[in-house]
């Protein structure tokens, strides 16, 4: 038995001319949360679908707990569970009926199925909504019932495909709590996300995917070090002094400074040179502020942020992700859901 939950080598999936997944190698250790980070259309969902036996790879190999996803699809299916981006339960049925249905399909006898469904609804705080059709659930409730359905049979590997896209911050935190509880039990979780902070909160290792390829892989620390601990966003009162401020910031932070479209705004990445944690970045940033004040440049607004996904991509690929121009259909559907 392999101690790897997932191992892929040169995994490829093409749709016509589009190489959605273009040679991905992944090794996901069992018992951890593995984050797959990337913009819309990067190939995250396609990769997950191949691993969950929903799509047949066009090239390469993938093993889940040592089982080939094509030749031993049934063995893989008995150990994994998938929560897709969209509701993966039947919207016409009630929460209770959905869970009973899946419990029956995973082999629970009638009585045991009802019992298990009731317990899960209770644990997920959905007892009151048990008798309502899922189409009348709020976004947060849907995610809960989705995840409840996914862990019903205590899978060894749980795929969560963008579990918090479209959720409000509060529901998002609740989903994170659930993921932590699931992993605490020993289930391996493969989480895809567009948000760096989500991967940061949950994942032990992260793979960054762009245009179907893994462009970076490592622990959170390694990844962050390669990107920088964060960004300093500064808004000046006087647009004419921006050039001067940019030079100053560049000198103090020893970092690349970017001029924003807004004529009074600039952004500098900090922490690339050894400042590996937030504090290092904060210290550097406060030094930079002091320098600006000494030069008599008035700062209206100042923020120290984690690198955004765009910044991660900028750092990793040296080019814009085209993130904002990516097909928005996924998000639109999500917003409607």
């Amino acid at each position: 038995m392999s101690s790897m939950a997932i191992e892929t080598a040169g995994l490829v999936k093409t749709f016509g001319d589009n190489r959605a997944v273009d040679g991905i190698d992944l090794s996901v250790p069992a018992g951890t949360v593995y984050g797959v980070l990337g913009p819309n259309g990067a190939g995250k969902t396609t990769a997950v679908k191949m691993l969950a036996t929903l799509l047949r790879p066009d090239g390469g190999e993938a093993h889940v707990f040592g089982h080939d996803v094509v030749r031993e699809a049934d063995a893989v299916r008995s150990r994994v569970s998938l929560t897709g981006q969209y509701a993966s339960v039947d919207e016409d049925l009630t929460g209770m009926e959905n869970l009973i249905l899946l419990a029956r399909l995973t082999g629970h006898a009638k009585k045991a199925a009802r019992e298990r469904a009731g317990q899960l609804l209770e644990a997920f705080g959905l007892t009151e909504a048990a008798g309502r059709q899922v189409k009348n659930y709020s976004g947060g409730m849907r995610r809960r019932i989705d995840i409840a359905a996914s862990i019903l049979n205590t899978p060894d590997l749980l795929f969560l495909d963008e579990p918090t896209t479209g959720l409000d911050p509060r529901s998002r935190n609740q989903v994170w709590d659930i993921v932590r509880a699931v992993v605490g039990h020993g289930t391996t979780v493969l989480l895809t996300t567009q948000y760096l902070d989500e991967a940061d909160q949950l994942a032990a290792r992260i793979a960054v995917i762009d245009r179907g390829k893994v462009i970076a892989e490592g622990t959170k620390g390694e990844l962050k070090a390669s990107v920088g601990a964060g960004s300093v966003h500064v808004r000046l009162r006087d647009a004419e002094r921006r050039e001067e401020a940019a030079r100053l910031l560049g000198a103090v932070l020893d970092a690349q400074v970017q001029l924003e479209p807004d004529p009074v705004a600039l952004t500098a990445r900090v922490g690339t040179d050894g400042g590996r944690d937030g504090r290092g970045a904060a210290e550097q940033a406060s030094r930079a502020l002091a320098e600006l004040a000494r030069a008599g440049i008035t700062v209206d607004n100042f923020a120290l942020g984690q690198p955004s996904l765009d910044e991660v991509f900028l750092a990793l690929t040296g080019s814009d992700t085209g993130h904002h121009h990516a097909p928005a259909t996924d998000l639109e559907k999500e917003a409607r859901a």
Binding site: T53, S81, A112, S138, M141
Partner: protein, 282 residues
């Protein structure tokens, strides 16, 4: 029916991670369900859908009633002297026609389901693969049975008096249900093959209209030109409606039954595997 507005997150009870952890440490997984059990479970799902959206029974109640009334009074006088004469011949046929027409909704429901994420979940379950499709068909068999009872009731009220009695009528319906179950595999295939619900409907009508009209449902084939007789006499719908008519008439149509079951087997043997191939590839 629940029409309550979506509840706000704020009103949600908290997730109880402690009891969640307990649930996850459950004792082993039960053995996978048998093919029959999985199929029946999907059949149960189809019935729950009828329960939650009873409007969908409209097509198996109002539509067949309309068919019987329309054709009996429209053609009855011209073709058999009077509507009450004609209905003795027409009713078994119109029953076949109505139920065969209703089968196309199988394709529509398969097609609308694929769009939803729940299909992906079913496909990641370690169960007998065709059970999802068989489940649809089991649910639909219930709808066909309802339609049959509705049509018969209307027919009896309008003066249909089958010589085969209760046993003959039930046998006729049973044969029709078996054939419809087999015929529906054509629609599961199209439901998976075509992209939109509209195209599924379109193709269904293209197939069903000629098959049902160019049969012996409305008139005896002897009255038709020879080339048309060749088609009508070999049309599976003709075999089914002749078999059903004979059974309800109290005779045992051995040849027609053999043709009907032969066609049923052929349909499942051809369209079953094609459906499953598409389902696995989707």
């Amino acid at each position: 029916m629940s029409t309550a507005a979506p509840a706000e997150t704020q009103d949600l009870a908290p997730v109880r991670t402690d009891s969640l952890a307990e649930l996850l440490i459950s004792t082993g997984r039960p053995p996978r369900p048998s093919a029959l059990s999985a199929s029946l479970t999907f059949g149960w799902r189809a019935m729950l859908k009828i329960k939650h959206v009873p409007e969908q029974l409209f097509d198996v109640t109002a539509f067949p009633i309309m068919m019987v009334l329309m054709y009996t009074y429209l053609f009855g006088g011209a073709l058999a002297g009077s509507p009450s004469e004609y209905i003795q011949y027409l009713l078994p046929g119109i029953l076949v026609m109505s139920v065969v027409m209703i089968t196309m909704y199988t394709g529509v429901s398969v097609n609308t389901d694929i769009e939803k994420g729940v299909f992906d979940r079913f496909r990641t379950l370690p169960i007998w693969r065709p059970s999802v499709m068989v489940g649809y068909l089991l649910g639909d068999a219930l709808r066909y049975a309802i339609a049959s009872v509705v049509i018969l009731t209307v027919g009896l009220i309008m003066g249909f008096r089958p010589d085969g009695g209760f046993v003959g009528v039930v046998a006729g319906i049973a044969v029709l249900l078996v054939f419809s179950f087999a015929f529906s595999w054509i629609w599961t295939m199209f439901g998976l093959l075509l992209r939109t619900e509209k195209s599924v409907m379109g193709v269904s009508m293209m197939v069903i209209f000629p098959l049902t009209f160019l049969s012996d449902i409305f008139v005896k084939p002897e009255t038709m030109p020879g080339w048309l007789q060749a088609f009508v006499n070999n049309n599976p719908i003709t075999h089914v409606s002749s078999a059903v008519r004979a059974l309800m008439d109290g005779t045992s149509p051995t040849t027609e039954l053999a043709w009907t079951f032969g066609w049923a087997l052929l349909l499942v043997a051809v369209f079953g595997p094609v459906t499953m191939r598409l389902y696995n590839r989707k």
